[in-house]
Symmetry: C2
Subunit: 258 residues, 2 copies
Amino acid sequence: MTKQFGRLIGVSLGPGHPDDITRRAAAALATGARWTYPVKKEDEASYALDIVRRGGFSIPPDAEPLVFPMTTHKDVLVRAWARAAARTLELLANGRDVLFLAEGDASTYATFGHLARTVRELVPMVEVEVLPGVSSYCAAAAAVGTPLADADDTLAVIPASYGVEVIDHLLDEFDSLVLLKIKPMLDKVLDLLARRGLTHEAVFVEKVGTPDERVVSDVTVLRGETVSYLSLMLIHNPGRQRPPMRRGCRKKDTETEQ
Amino acid sequence: MTKQFGRLIGVSLGPGHPDDITRRAAAALATGARWTYPVKKEDEASYALDIVRRGGFSIPPDAEPLVFPMTTHKDVLVRAWARAAARTLELLANGRDVLFLAEGDASTYATFGHLARTVRELVPMVEVEVLPGVSSYCAAAAAVGTPLADADDTLAVIPASYGVEVIDHLLDEFDSLVLLKIKPMLDKVLDLLARRGLTHEAVFVEKVGTPDERVVSDVTVLRGETVSYLSLMLIHNPGRQRPPMRRGCRKKDTETEQ
């Protein structure tokens, strides 16, 4: 007899504001599927759950936290993924679909990827579905009111922790740069921006979409400040020297992004 | 007497499936604001309008197309932006909010940026709002079921028309590469992938979210094919040599993408 597993569904909630939840994700929350959500420690508040709570969704009493610790230790992480995957499989084995609530977009720097991969390593037949969402940097660009990328622009998204040498180098090649997790690198990035004359091309966005959202257009005021780790920087690089584009390709400029 | 303009609101609809519309965008469509939407030519069907039509939204009889031609001629484009902005200002002058329907995310390679900029060049006091949305490449990653970027990954998004030399070079620096508007470059990119041993790390996605969506995991079958211009390629680069990360930064690995 084949066991009938439920589907594992990664539900993207957007980066913070419940109105950024898609119609598809909102519908999934109302299907009666079992909810799971990430926490960093047992009994700690969940950022993802807070988004749906603020959105007026009623949280099922059996919604279950899964612990994903905040650590660099690969073995600790791997054990956490294994534990979370094992518990998810127990829930899936009832035949009921299991939702995993994900902040931002569940494909973009998200815990869901690890959970889904680990679940499928254990039981390859489990069906996984991802409901896409608004990424933090798209929401940040909207909050700032500036395009993230346009026409022939190149766009790079990197964790700021690669350091200023890498960031400096990428600014030669990209018209638009998103620095995630800017917190520990903030002052060094401010130095780099000043050196390259890009101070006024950068905007800092903290906790986008939440009641504590902060958009800082004059980034120089941030020097020395300890910002939230939920913060990013958008940098435009309007003076970049571009390589030539291929003939017959540029005529698609005014089209949709695909 | 100061004229009271309505707000200009860029409404991101996601790349094709009406269920990718956010709750905020859906609410905006129902406010009674005047709708505008992009077309490439007069009397041509609108991709954006088709998304909301398929979503069951009733289209106001006074919804108005704005023409954004498909051309590389900067002067033709600038004239089109000026005409669209002038018409938008006429509508805004009634004091009623004006929505501009945008495929994908209105900040990401979108016509809305040009419209908003041109409107504000003409009348700086006009208030502009952007409702963020699901980008085509986030929806594509979800459709494929593969993470777009993870933990310390670097992510680049570029129009494929920069050519294979640029793409080849970026693969040295990026773990994940999104090639937009892949159509005219497809065969050359397939050659490059073969040369770099990345053929099986690439996925092609066409018309994501629409009834004609196509996900092709064996990209070699596409050789010689004339694909839709609404197509992109996601490339993972698992063997990349990474520079060292800064100490004290990596501990944020398991957190949300901001």
